[in-house]
Subunit: 338 residues, 2 copies
């Protein structure tokens, strides 16, 4: 158990980034004292202000090849693969379609996933020009986040449920020798001292269904002519409970609307019925509709160290305590993963 | 205490409308069994998905004269006035400015409030053409909502924390002889069976400050040429803690953005400094920034009874249990008060 004199790391945010960072830190540096400060804790998965519980979540390729992306994604994929024995992650057969012919040599993730192959023409769903199949991993955030929370509890990590307005407040919790990990996601826009306007939401509307006839990850390409802008078409079977499938979706940039648009829900449902005949099973049931806001950032995620002069001077905090001793304070930013 | 055979009223939503409705019902009909079902309960005031805790909240005139509005507002004002002895409400001197000369005869609320007078020219703040002063009431929702909750607990009202997707789910909780009060606010857009697209948010960004130099409600007129569209200028001293003032604000229609816009915060602050020199006190401190979404409705609030045929048939609920007996089910809508 960590002592009072050791380094104190305060993680701000209890989404998948904050909790996973705390987990890695507590594994590698068991002598380190760790506190997680967040508006919502993982025992309240229903809060809509918190995006992680609504994630799919499977490993799926996003964007073009970049060296840094490849390294990060390979690490993520392998870590998830190694977690299969825990029961929190399962392997998942996956098919992704494209609007153009694909060149196998140009698919950056083909050696990262398992069982990669180009789909023969007869297996390509209608509307798409080509497709690939592979084995990926799927994780249920509704199980994973509480599991992380209980692991961290066991390791003596402290949780504080608190809405924090500024880096100054969290510096006070951390103490002069503390360090802060800023894993606030969309909150980085509003956190005084950071106020990062590059952070923006990508609205994701999804349907949670019991659909035992859908056994693999399936997706139509983004940007398909017949699909309205901002909409997507995908199905992600979850490792548990059996038959639960997350059906999406939307990628609506700068859209904060948390209400459910039933015209969109209807459009998603009919596209998915076309892509996956197994969805038309008589046992299929809609269980719920969700909207989550993916915390994205123009220019990409921010993974960066920054030194702050304490006490924080800000026009929005007009009266810092004049007696507070000046010191430098380290913040490690980890947000904007979208 | 209500028995199992009495009428069962399920109130959906635990904002100021839901809790107050339950309170009135339990006062008038103590034999009635009442259950409140809501995603957020009043013991978690920090949830941003819930707008009531962020309200000002003082009584202030909104809109033009309408007979129904007058009756409703008179009832509200008098009820709040009568609550002063409880300590939850205080009287509040109030000054409201207008962009045009006012005709005292046309001010519909002048006999509803106390101590009404037209401001002499020398008391009208710069930028405004005229102004009125009166005594109104102010309530702190951060105290009022938990007080209502504890009153309801004492009366045997049951609280269920649950995210409800459809009228069907809440009908099941209510039972065949039950009645539902739909006090879901913005949630009425997403509730299956209701799906009311006339409901929309009016974004309100505010600053909570300790400002003992501000002792009265003050507001500049909406639509002042020098103020950006969607912004307003007002200060609402809260009954407690002493010196706490809610400083606003914005009225941004159809804007769901829950992040804090610091350019707006700065603009609000400087306009309020001009309106209330007392804000420039050396003791003034910014305590926090908030964004709340006022649950408004095109065409006005919906206060209406509606009979549903159960089980609910909806394309978004493809498989209702075929064995469930058909029955009529009463829902009383009470949402969209903005």
């Amino acid at each position: 158990m960590p002592g009072e004199t050791s380094l104190h790391v305060v993680v701000l945010g209890s989404g998948v980034i904050g909790l996973t960072t705390a987990h890695v830190l507590s594994t590698r540096y068991p002598e380190c004292r760790i506190t997680i400060v967040a508006r919502d804790l993982p025992d309240d998965l229903s809060s809509q202000a918190w995006s992680s519980p609504w994630a799919g979540a499977d490993w799926s390729p996003m964007g073009e090849y970049e060296e840094l992306r490849y390294k990060r994604e390979a690490k993520t994929f392998n870590k998830l693969w190694d977690m299969i024995p825990t029961g929190l992650v399962r392997t998942l057969p996956s098919r992704i379609c494209y609007t153009q012919e694909v060149d196998s040599d140009k698919i950056w993730y083909k050696d990262l996933v398992r069982d990669f192959r180009i789909l023969p023409k007869k297996e390509v769903p209608s509307g798409a020009a080509s497709g690939v199949a592979f084995t990926t991993v799927s994780l249920n955030p509704g199980l994973y986040l509480p599991w992380l929370k209980s692991e961290l509890d066991t390791r003596g990590v402290t949780f504080i449920k608190k809405k924090v307005y500024s880096i100054g407040e969290v510096a006070e919790i951390a103490g002069p020798k503390g360090v802060v990990i800023n894993a606030t996601g969309l909150g980085a826009r509003s956190l005084i001292g950071v106020q990062d306007k590059a952070v923006y939401p990508i609205r994701g509307q999804t349907i949670l269904a019991y659909a035992p006839g859908v056994q693999e990850f399936l997706s139509y390409p983004l940007g398909l002519a017949s699909v309205p802008t901002g909409q997507a078409t995908y199905m992600i079977p979850r490792p548990s409970p059996p038959g639960h499938v997350l059906i999406g979706g939307t990628f609506q940039e700068d859209n904060w609307d948390l209400s459910i648009d039933f015209d969109i829900a209807k459009a998603i449902w009919s596209r998915c019925l076309e892509l996956a005949p197994g969805l038309n099973d008589k046992e299929t049931k809609i269980l719920g509709h969700n909207v989550g806001l993916r915390p994205a950032r123009r220019g990409g995620a921010r993974i960066e160290a920054e030194w702050f002069k304490m006490p924080l001077k800000s026009e929005f905090l007009p009266s810092p305590d004049p007696l507070e001793k000046e010191h430098d304070f380290l913040v490690i930013h980890a947000y904007g993963f979208g």
